[in-house]
């Protein structure tokens, strides 16, 4: 039943979330908001899961808040902002690495998928992201009380093919079937459009932790048609943080004579303090930074909003160029945009809001939480893919490819075959021939980007068309079809037309994992999804049983126990033994069943205990002075949860 639940996931640079759009209350949570679209909180009750992965002392994987804490104490055993490394090569990330505490494997060749050192082995960015996805999957499974196997995952609109493929690989490694990759600004527009289905043109300005996107959409009778998108996959709150850290590092060197960079844990404390100050300055005019440094020194600084704005103005300015280009591609002026929507944590910065308002000459929408809106939109798209509901039955998303697709032509020039902002799925057919007599293969270099020369574009793949029958030069006619699917991912097929022979294609992704590598990672990953779920359910049910048994022990010592009849006491004893027996076995179903039975048999005991507690309260005793004082935090019915 729960197996076909499709969740929406925002796999962010800084934080990740999982959301669901339901059609009714769930079995496990009859009172929970099962209807409508909502975020599924983590075990700690928090919606945001920090996109941080760390290893503890026993090499157990920590994800989220636990990992973020670990980052402060042992930064060399934690990885954050891994999204910035997805689908990229070692030559792309030199700048980033100067600021990150983690290290890459030393033996990386150019063009190879990155590998990050962590606790004695190395992980590719998709494997790290898979840990985050697995945590979100677990959160959803705990919420629904059953397996979750399918998801919609959001990506920055300006992600290229390799970055999208890497995200999809991460999903597969985490044991999720990725039904669709949805562009983040488009997802946000779905969340906004859900309750206000009106026609018009909207611009979504999405300034997140690591990436910036802007999308212009036309809304018409439930069709969300993206007309243009632009952005920068290396522009976000991280850049602001890094700037602030760099300024502080200089400051400290000058004032206190300490080179903080030599102390990774101090850098992380500084980073955390600067981020805190940045966030505080969105609502107050000044913030005080205080960081303990090595060598017994203390860094103290007051930062005003004005100072912050002066420092970050050039970064904010960089978002305006993509906005103008998107408008120009859409054939619109800023004034022709009816509504502007702000998405992403960085849009909380007052300067960002002012700049956007000035550019579009209207007040942007901020009604929905900018951290959550993308995940909510992903859940809406997940609902559509799962067959839709009354609320979504008229909704359809038509997205575009953000970057032009080209092939390298003679002289190292890019010949564009699918232009940017083409509605996807989109395809193009090209014909190739041979240059030499008897030539049996043709090399094709696929590119993505807007530049005229191949060397300036992103290399997507190189492949050889093999198996061409030997013919005089120029005679073979090879038809190659390029198809960009609804995820923005490229597929290639080819055939030699004169011989009618299907040409063999070997696509070597320039920055991607091969299918085989992904399969190995799935096998490799220590917790295979199925086994993992069963084991977790066993642990959780055992924990629950322990709690109940502890509560029962207290109940036996309570005066209320003696008020039960002999047969009732015997029944409870018997069920207790049965539960203990079930706990020693490995089947969580039988443990749960025994818990339920014991719960039922002890209902009257719990009621009697409650009456006694209320009675003593009436007699002037405080609740926690009764015998329930250190009552266990057990679920219904034994426990004081009902009172507090």
């Amino acid at each position: 039943m729960t197996d076909d639940k499709v969740v929406g996931i925002d796999l962010g640079t800084t934080n990740s979330l999982v959301a669901y759009m339901g059609t009714g209350p769930t079995l496990a949570h009859p009172d929970a908001p099962g209807k409508g679209v909502f975020i599924i909180p983590g075990e700690d009750g928090v919606n945001l899961v920090p996109s941080v992965v760390a290893l503890d002392a026993e090499n157990h994987v920590l994800v989220g808040n636990a990992a973020r804490t670990a980052l402060l104490t042992s930064p060399e055993r934690a990885v954050y902002s891994v999204k910035r490394l997805m689908g990229r090569g070692v030559e792309d990330v030199q700048e980033e690495l100067k600021l990150f505490p983690f290290q890459l494997a030393e033996d990386l060749a150019p063009g190879e998928v990155l590998r990050i050192k962590l606790g004695g082995r190395t992980y590719t960015p998709p494997e790290i992201s898979a840990q985050i996805l697995r945590q979100l999957k677990r959160n959803a499974e705990r919420f629904f009380g059953g397996a979750v196997k399918q998801a919609v995952i959001t990506v920055p609109a300006y992600f290229n093919d390799a970055q999208r493929q890497a995200t999809k690989d991460a999903g597969r490694i985490a044991g999720l079937e990725v039904l669709r990759l949805v562009n983040e600004p488009t997802a946000a527009s779905l969340a906004y459009g859900l309750d206000r289905k009106q026609n018009g043109t909207i611009a979504v300005y999405d300034f997140g932790g690591g990436t910036f996107d802007v999308s212009i959409l036309k809304l018409k009778d439930g069709i969300f048609e993206v007309v243009a998108t632009n952005g920068d996959t290396h522009l976000g709150g991280d850049d602001i943080d890094n700037l602030l850290i760099a300024v502080a590092v200089d400051d400290i060197r000058g004032d206190l004579g300490v080179d903080v960079r030599r102390y990774p844990d101090a850098v992380q404390r500084l980073r955390s303090a600067m981020i805190e100050a940045k966030i505080a300055l969105s609502s107050s005019e000044a913030a005080d930074v205080e960081v303990e440094l090595p060598e017994g020194k203390l860094y103290q600084r007051r930062i005003t909003r004005e100072m912050l704005e002066q420092m970050i103005a050039p970064i904010v300015e960089r978002t305006l160029g993509p906005c103008r280009r998107a408008l120009s591609d859409a054939g619109l002026t800023a004034q022709q945009v009816d509504e502007v929507v702000l998405v992403g944590g960085s849009t909380r910065i007052p300067l960002v809001r002012r700049e956007v308002e000035a550019l579009f000459a209207r007040k942007p929408h901020t009604e929905l939480n900018p951290d959550e809106v993308v995940a909510l939109g992903a859940a809406v798209q997940a609902n559509i893919l799962a067959g839709g509901s009354d609320e979504t039955k008229d909704m359809l998303l038509l997205d575009v490819t953000p970057l032009s697709l080209g092939i390298e032509a003679l002289g190292g020039v890019t010949a564009k075959i699918i232009h940017r902002n083409s509605t996807i799925p989109a395809s193009a057919t090209e014909h190739f021939t041979t240059g030499v007599e008897g030539q049996v293969s043709v090399a094709i270099h696929v590119l993505q980007g807007e530049r005229e020369l191949a060397k300036d574009c992103r290399s997507l793949a190189r492949f050889d068309l093999k198996g061409i029958p030997p013919m005089p030069a120029g005679l073979p006619r090879i038809e190659v079809r390029f198809l960009i699917d609804a995820n923005g991912i490229l597929h290639v097929s080819a055939r030699e037309q004169r011989s009618g022979k299907e040409a063999e294609i070997q696509v070597q992704p320039s920055y991607g994992l091969t299918d085989e590598q992904v399969e190995n990672m799935i096998l490799d990953s220590f917790d295979n999804a199925e086994a993992d779920l069963a084991e977790r359910q066993l642990i959780e049910s055992r924990n629950e049983a322990e709690t109940i048994l502890t509560a029962l022990g207290k109940g036996r010592r309570n005066a209320a126990w003696k008020m039960l009849g002999f047969s009732e006491q015997r029944k409870v004893d018997e069920l207790e033994q049965r539960l203990r027996l079930a706990m020693s076995g490995g089947d969580h179903h039988s443990i749960r069943r025994s818990i339920d039975e014991l719960n039922q048999a002890t209902t009257r005991l719990a009621e009697l205990m409650m009456d006694a507690a209320v009675g003593s309260a009436l007699h002037g005793k405080k609740m926690d002075e009764t015998e329930m004082e250190d009552g266990p935090s057990a679920p219904h019915p034994i426990g004081k949860a009902e009172f507090s």
Binding site: A386, A409, V413, K416, T423, I424, P425, L483, I484, D485
Partner: protein, 241 residues
């Protein structure tokens, strides 16, 4: 059907191809009804993707005067029925057809909604290869160090010569106010001329739509001149911005 195929027995390969065609074009794979196109008229199931030209995809004749608003409406309607979002839980082959058909739909709409790409596409269908005036061809020629073969339209010879002088000047010594004013004036007059070419093109469309094949040559001529002109405007714009 069997009577039609009787004469083809000697060519079994071809026979198979023809049978497959007939089946997929006229018979619904799901219910067997014989009137199917994108969808079966009887049971509504989507039909397999077939190689087709963009006009046929929309059920349009190969004519150039197109009601663009009606085309857009049809595009949205077909999107609502063909899009992969609607088939994410369907069989693998239906998912595949949906992907193929939606990419055809998007490619067809993108090509036909614009008057210029529509005309170029029709000429292409009629076997006409337009001269390479594209920026790629220019860059390619540059990369090889050869002068690109370009036919300067006679009416533009003089202006093109003058403009190139101005552009050289701008590249060498920068753009002062005087030169800028000249460049802006030239750009505006060329842009106005681009607009007039649109009218010429429409006149040629009318002839084509009325069955006059001679219109092909006229359209090729207009498109070549237009392409040369818009390259000039683009170069100008680059210098100005």
């Amino acid at each position: 059907m069997s009577e039609q195929n009787a004469g083809l027995k000697t060519a079994p390969m071809q026979l198979q191809v023809i049978q497959e065609r007939q089946l997929s074009q006229h018979q619904c794979w799901s219910c067997g009804d014989m009137r199917a196109e994108h969808f079966c008229a009887a049971c509504g199931h989507m039909q397999p993707a077939e190689p087709t030209d963009f006009f046929s995809f929309f059920g349009l004749p190969r004519k150039l005067e197109v009601d663009e608003a009606a085309l857009e409406k049809e595009f949205y309607q077909l999107s609502r029925k063909l899009h992969p979002d609607l088939y994410s839980r369907a069989s693998a082959r239906e998912q595949h057809w949906s992907l193929e058909k939606t990419s055809q739909l998007n490619d067809a709409f993108r090509t036909l909604k614009d008057p210029i790409t529509r005309t170029e596409y029709l000429l292409n269908l009629e076997g006409i290869q337009l001269e390479e005036q594209s920026k790629v061809a220019t860059e390619q020629a540059r990369a090889f160090g050869v002068e690109k073969k370009q036919t300067v339209p006679a009416e533009l010879l003089e202006e093109a010569f003058e403009l190139n002088m101005m552009l050289e000047e701008a590249k060498a010594g920068g753009v002062d106010d005087d030169l800028r004013a000249q460049l802006v004036a030239t750009r505006d007059s060329l842009t106005a001329r681009l607009g007039r070419m649109q009218d010429e093109l429409r006149a040629a469309w009318k002839k084509w739509d009325n069955g006059n094949r001679a219109a092909i040559d006229e359209m090729v001529d207009v498109l070549n001149r237009r392409s040369y002109l818009s390259n000039l405007v683009r170069d100008l714009q680059e210098v100005l911005s």
